[in-house]
């Protein structure tokens, strides 16, 4: 029924199956929308946040999706600026994932603020000394860049492309994409860094506070670095999940392996820098404020030293060593393990820099503050996931997201007959791989 919209040379599931899938995920989405409306109309009393936990699940989710969405800018940088042509086979998907991550981050921020209608005050009454102001500006601009990067892919839909204007627009946008890739990398450097700075500048919170260079705490650089390192792992992970669900090979191994290799070296260098930064903080910065390292990791039911071991050792060094070895990244199982660990690692880092910062007592007579999210917080955090799944499903079905798909999954001759009876299958000779 919708075969005219499906890219040439590829096969898709029947429409009813697709709609059933969208409907199932749509129910989860509606649940999240309901919770979101509750928060907007009744206020943030719908959450389990309190005056000790002013930052909670949402801010973590925000930081986490932005970190894993870093795959878009870093892959774009490698493809367009450093000329890694082999990544053209995965760049479309990296952009799509980045678009989903950043639109989700903006949505979460819109729910998280107490007066959503005043959200624009951050631009109008901007305090240039605040890291959050920098985040807001760069985040919004970069979302614009991602939209521009995603647009040519939409214009390559079979029916839209038939319109000469859209066809030429798409072509010309491809021509200048390097400019947007460079802009995206520049903006990402600042907003990823500023998100690290959000915690790092809190000199009233010894657990978060870090020294640094000029106005930038070390977390500024570590956040950018970790996003560039672990973002591509998330791109690989989502690609692998998509391949598993569709039961197709969608991206050539050489693209995955190159991205995995670069990511591995980035994770290794990041985690060494992170360890050094933490060592300095634990032995110099924190003691100068009257704290020992173990005071931050004891006398509470959750935050033990295990979290350091998990973040740095298990989710840092382990995936790094797997990915930098040829054997490790070529083996499907170890590749899966490595990308999952890397994604968990960066998310855990963001959790620590948001949730644990709020939990640690600062005044000597204060106490650890524990927090668990309300169902409204959980639902609104799952909402972007459902939205992402739906957008990926629609994009995958109707847009040439994977340029190698037709080549990697040749359609058998019997499929030709099926085209006559409304099957979403096209002849292979008509194939025209797309490239962002």
């Amino acid at each position: 029924m919708d075969s005219a919209l499906i890219p040439k040379g590829v096969k898709r599931c029947p429409l009813w199956q697709f709609l059933l899938f969208i409907g199932a995920v749509g129910i989860v989405l509606l649940w999240g929308v309901y919770a979101m409306l509750l928060c907007w109309f009744k206020g943030l009393n719908q959450t389990n946040m309190n005056d000790y936990y002013g930052f909670a699940l949402w801010i973590w989710a925000d930081l986490a999706v932005i970190a894993v969405g870093g795959g878009a800018f870093f892959t774009g940088l490698l493809r367009y600026i450093f000329g890694k042509d082999v990544l053209k086979n995965i760049i479309n998907y990296a952009v799509l994932i980045g678009f989903i991550c950043y639109s989700s981050a903006l949505l979460i921020l819109a729910i998280d603020i107490g007066q959503p209608l005043r959200g624009w005050f951050i631009f109008w009454h901007a305090n240039v000394h605040s890291m959050l102001t920098e985040v807001a500006f760069c985040l919004s601009c970069y979302f614009g860049v991602l939209t521009i990067e995603y647009l040519p892919l939409i214009l390559e839909n079979r029916q839209i492309e038939k319109v000469p204007f859209f066809h030429h627009l798409s072509h010309n946008m491809h021509e200048v994409m390097a400019v947007f890739a460079a802009t995206g990398a520049f903006l990402s450097f600042f907003h990823q860094g500023s998100l690290g700075g959000v915690a790092g500048v809190l000199f009233g919170r010894p657990f978060a506070y870090r020294e640094g260079v000029f106005i930038w705490p070390w977390t500024f650089f570590l956040f950018t670095w970790s996003a560039a390192a672990c973002g591509p792992c998330f791109t690989i992970l989502v690609t692998k999940i998509t391949e598993t669900i569709t039961r197709k090979k969608l991206v050539k191994d050489n693209a995955i392996e190159l991205l995995a290799k670069i990511s591995g070296w980035m994770i290794l260098t990041y985690i060494i820098a992170k360890t050094m930064s933490m060592w300095y903080w634990a032995t110099v910065t924190a003691p100068s404020k009257g704290f020992t390292l173990m005071e931050f990791y004891s006398n509470n039911p959750l935050y033990g030293i295990w979290i350091v071991v998990a973040e740095i050792l298990i989710c840092g060094f382990v995936p790094a060593f797997i990915l930098i070895t040829k054997k490790g990244r070529k083996n499907p199982l170890t590749l899966w393990i490595a990308v999952i660990l890397a994604v968990i690692g960066v998310c855990l880092n963001r959790w620590v820099m948001v949730l644990q910062v709020m939990a640690v007592p600062v005044m000597t007579f204060d106490h650890w503050a524990m927090y668990y999210p309300s169902w409204q917080e959980v639902a609104t955090t799952i909402l972007p996931v459902a939205y992402g799944v739906i957008l990926i499903a629609i994009s995958y079905r109707y847009l040439p997201v994977f340029p190698n798909e037709a080549e990697l999954n040749p359609i058998e001759p019997v499929a030709e007959e099926a085209t006559a009876v409304e099957s979403p299958v096209e002849l292979e000779e008509d194939l025209k791989p797309a490239e962002a």
Binding site: Y52, F121, A126, H129, T133, V198, F203, K289, G290, T364
Partner: protein, 272 residues
């Protein structure tokens, strides 16, 4: 005597005098139209611009000792005047540092409720309006007309009763005076304290009691020269304008975090 023309309004709280009666908290709530709910038992959700903490030295009987510690907003100056933990992070300039007074203000109509300032404050002096303020029937007539009530979704905090400063300035202006007398600008909590434990005034003015009590060192961000005076979390560099006096060593030690080799006393315990 010459002194800095800019004021640095501050507070000195004598912890040896404080009985923990809570008059300061009540006076503050009434003066500043602080909203409340039917159930105020969850202190992580209730708004208390002035909050009294109860500390003990953690020693068993008969060495047990108790201290009540009232905690308003510390009106931090930061490492350089105006670089308060909260002011420096607010993305919408909804909280500002008054160079003329040293008071950290909160602009309720500009705050959009991101709560970054709350995350930055180590004293937990900032509170979020999780609910709309609902006053018991008839009580709205008793609200102070000088303080604007806050709406749901914004942050609020102690302002050192700034409206009183404005009223005193207006009165002085009408009387063709430029300076205020010490008694003309006093906070509600300082006036309500029956034990006279709270003293308020200009730390820059040597004639004011607060200056004489703590003898602030302007070369070190106002650090007290009086050995019996401390500021909370001095080591963080927040440079607060609220000072605590006590003759008891464990209480002064409780004001800041110390490494084991620096202090050989038990950490204080907070109750309730």
């Amino acid at each position: 005597m010459k002194y800095n023309k800019n004021h640095r309004f501050g507070m000195v709280i004598d912890l040896d005098k404080c009985t923990g009666c809570g008059s300061c908290m009540v006076a503050c709530m009434a003066e500043n139209n602080v909203p409340f709910r039917k159930d105020e038992s969850n202190k992580l959700l209730s708004i208390t611009w002035m909050r009294v903490f109860r500390l003990t030295n953690g020693e068993p009987f008969p060495k047990t000792d108790i201290c009540y510690l009232p905690r308003p907003c510390m009106q931090c100056a930061g490492q350089h005047e105006g670089h308060s933990p909260c002011v420096s992070v607010c993305p919408a300039t909804a909280t500002d540092y008054g160079i003329e007074t040293g008071i950290v203000s909160q602009i309720y109509t500009r705050c959009f409720g991101c709560r970054y300032c709350m995350a930055s404050c180590p004293y937990h002096s900032r509170y979020f309006n999780w609910w709309d303020p609902i006053w018991p029937t008839g009580m709205e007539k008793y609200l102070s007309p000088n303080v604007s009530p806050r709406m749901r979704g914004v942050v609020e905090k102690c302002s050192f009763c700034y409206h009183r400063y404005q009223l005193a300035k207006e009165k002085a202006f009408m009387e063709k005076r430029r300076e205020l007398k010490e008694s003309e600008y006093q906070t509600a909590c300082a006036q309500a304290c029956p034990a006279n434990a709270i003293t308020f005034g200009d730390l820059n003015n040597p004639d004011h009691a607060v200056h004489r009590m703590v003898n602030p060192d302007p070369k070190h961000g106002g650090r007290p020269k009086n050995p019996h005076a401390v500021r909370l979390l001095e080591r963080l560099g927040t440079n607060p304008k609220v000072y605590y006096l006590s003759s008891r060593n464990w209480i002064r030690q409780a004001g800041d975090n110390h490494l084991k080799n620096e202090a050989k006393i038990k950490k204080p315990v907070h109750h309730g």
